[in-house]
């Protein structure tokens, strides 16, 4: 008889479904109240004990006396059904979504650990998460990645491990310029002018932005090239301005400055945070770079110009060319 009962239990365990107790009957015996639930967590008492998940302990007393009825039953063990992990790749970002781990008979899910590896089977680099159902890895370099998800119980124990999901990140590189034509408007010797997309401004303002993103392993480099402002041979001189928002009004000066809003590094001579401005004419000059993969980032470009009292009249023009180089 016990073999039959244990076999039934084993079947239910392997089937992985939640079993609800009911009386078992036959013409030869009656098993009453076979299930002793442990309630909402790990519990013990003098009448039953849980050794570990998967163990079965029969509580109560088996008896044959006519003066009492021996009630034998089944102690339910906690059960967890692992999450199913699904990856999605967009650019250099891998987003993993998963189904919630299903638990019963005592387990509660307190959170998850997500693991990433570059080799199937790991070793995985694990990150502890809360009780969430999504996680993203950003700025991944090109390659194939392997992921698992571990489910944690109330005590931080791993109670289930998901399938291993695989995602391949391709090379990504994007670069854009927010405006292709800017103007200082009229320059004067009285004060600096700042280029804008309309007619310039006497107040310091960004003329346009650059947006860059790359998952290249050693980042990217942004360069510019071009000549200084020119009007039929008359030029506004390239300038190097340090720690000043105005430069030197009354002198011919043309320079630019860049403000990084992310991890990109701007050379000191162009660092807008320090109010440094510079312009290197007719060469490929580096104006920003990263040393590793970088998510989309905006860099604000500022342009300043001052004119000497006798700056020859005319319309001054130049065209700067920006280019990005990913360093794979």
């Amino acid at each position: 008889m016990n073999k039959i009962i244990y076999g039934l239990i084993a079947f239910l365990y392997l089937a992985g479904t939640i079993v609800f107790a009911k009386d078992l009957t036959s013409t030869n015996f009656i098993v009453r109240d076979p299930s002793i639930g442990t309630g909402g967590g790990y519990q013990s008492s003098g009448s039953f004990k849980m050794y570990s998940a998967g163990n079965l302990n029969v509580s109560g007393n088996g008896g044959t006396s006519t003066s009492f009825i021996g009630r034998e039953g089944f102690l339910q063990y906690p059960e967890a059904r692992a999450s199913v992990l699904t990856p999605t790749v967009i650019g250099s970002t891998v987003t993993l979504d998963w189904t919630a781990t299903t638990v019963a008979n005592g387990y509660t899910v307190s959170g998850y650990k997500i693991g990433i590896a570059t080799v199937s089977g790991g070793p995985y680099t694990l990150t502890t998460l809360g009780n969430v159902l999504t996680h993203s890895y950003i700025n991944r370099t090109p390659g194939t990645y392997y992921f698992i998800l571990q489910t944690l119980d109330a005590f931080g124990n791993v109670i289930a491990t998901s399938n291993e999901a695989t995602a391949t990140v391709e090379e990504t590189l994007s670069f854009s310029i927010s405006a292709n034509a800017i103007s200082f408007g009229p320059l004067t010797s009285a004060g600096p002018r700042y280029a804008t997309t309309s007619t310039g401004s006497g107040t310091e303002t960004s003329a346009h932005s650059l947006t860059a993103e790359s998952n290249a392993s050693t980042g990217y480099t942004i360069i510019y090239s071009g000549s200084t402002l020119d009007s039929n041979g008359n030029v506004i001189n390239p300038a190097t301005i340090t720690s000043s928002s105005t430069g030197t009004p009354g002198t011919n000066q043309f320079a630019l400055s860049l403000l990084s809003t992310g991890i990109a590094s701007v050379p000191t001579s162009y660092d807008h945070v320090s109010q440094n401005w510079n312009f290197a004419a007719n060469t490929l000059a580096t104006i920003a770079s990263t040393s590793g993969p970088a998510a989309a980032e905006t860099l604000n470009a500022y342009y300043i110009a001052n004119a000497a009292t006798l700056a020859p009249a005319g319309t001054y023009r130049t065209t700067l060319t920006y280019a990005i180089t990913a360093n794979y």
């Binding site: 034509a181 103007s183 280029a195 310039g200 319309t315 180089t325 794979y328």
Partner: protein, 352 residues
């Protein structure tokens, strides 16, 4: 028979095991430190390329190649080998430059374009495997294209450049933008300033005894003053400015005091009717035109009545230049009595 077969099999087995491992494994690895620095990423623009990579294996034997394959869309039609270069070395800054030729030789790498629009460049190692210097394992390699006949794709997007170097492989992604340029403009407005310090001057009473000079208080003087008035001019016109003067000589009814004629300044001569002007640069830069450019005591007036005549000029943009202007008059013994007047007009013209 069976024993013989086993012996043969054993011999092949020993031979197989004793073969150098390198003869069994292809030397293929991933290129590293790959990049392509372009000068312009605008669609359809010409752009230079500086393609850099590090080869783990090296290219050191006759027949081994480096192949650069641009994605379809790039156009290197008519690209000359002379506009491509190959340098390499163990460290940046110490690269050796290789000679490129149509086919490899002991001293030159072969360089051949192929594919649609020449998107494939095959560089074949010299026949001695060395050239200028062995392209050794770990070398940093730079394949450069000038912008001549190097045209970007006409559609924006990301494009790849596939690289192989003796079996080592890698790809580089480059973006092509609709417009990667920023056009910048500024204006400097035209400026011209011109002023006359005094609009009314006088000689007082003329006499045959000595020359009289106009003064700003209209009383005149018998000695030459610093000036009767000044003119000040400035402009940012690239070709500077010119100042002209026009007007008649001193006149009283139908009587006149003869203006000093000629193209050059003339010394004053009391007792002779003379009316003239002399200018000099007081500050700044500029040039007083003849006949008004005489030294002290030498005056000119030019034609009479004076038509517009160059008085001063500056050939470049200049800050304010101040001119001292003096006027001298002499009369003859029989010069008719009367009050003689005239009005001279000065006009400045900027030459933008």
């Amino acid at each position: 028979m069976m024993k013989s077969f086993v012996r043969i099999l054993l011999a092949f087995g020993i031979l197989f095991i004793s073969m150098p491992t390198t003869a069994l494994i292809a030397n293929a690895a991933s290129l590293s430190a790959m990049s392509d620095t372009m000068s312009n990423q605008t669609i359809s623009a010409t752009s230079s390329h500086a393609i850099r990579f590090t080869t783990p294996t090296g290219v050191t034997a006759n027949g081994q190649t480096i192949v650069v394959t641009f994605q379809s869309g790039f156009d290197f039609t008519s690209k000359a080998i002379g506009t491509v270069s190959l340098t390499h070395g163990a460290s940046t800054g110490t690269e050796s430059t290789e000679t490129l030729a149509a086919s490899p030789s002991a001293s030159a790498w072969g360089a051949v374009f192929s594919g649609t629009n020449n998107v494939i460049l095959t560089l074949t190692a010299p026949t001695d495997g060395t050239g200028s210097a062995p392209l050794a394992a770990g070398d940093k390699v730079i394949v450069s294209y000038t912008s001549a006949n190097s045209t970007n794709p006409s559609s924006p997007g990301n494009y790849t450049i596939a690289l192989t170097a003796n079996g080592d492989t890698g790809t580089i992604t480059v973006p092509i933008l609709t417009n990667s340029q920023v056009a910048i403009s500024a204006t400097v407005d035209q400026s011209l300033t011109f002023s006359v310090s005094n609009n009314s001057i006088g000689f007082g009473s003329l006499t045959t005894a000595n020359s009289r000079f106009a003064t700003s208080d209209s009383l005149g003087s018998s000695s030459e003053p610093t000036n009767a008035h000044t003119l000040a001019a400035s402009t940012n016109a690239a070709s500077g400015y010119s100042v002209a003067v026009s007007g008649a000589t001193l006149t009283s009814g139908s009587n006149t005091i003869t203006a000093i004629p000629g193209a050059s300044a003339v010394a004053l001569s009391p007792g002779t009717e003379q009316f003239g002007i002399r200018g000099a640069v007081a500050s700044g830069s500029g040039t007083v035109a003849a006949p008004f450019n005489g030294s002290a005591g030498n005056y000119g007036f030019g034609t009479s009545p004076l038509s517009s005549q160059a008085f001063a000029s500056n050939s470049t943009a200049s800050a304010s230049t101040s001119y001292n202007v003096n006027y001298a008059a002499n009369i003859a013994t029989l010069t008719e009595a009367g009050s003689y007047t005239t009005t001279l007009t000065y006009v400045a013209t900027a030459n933008f």
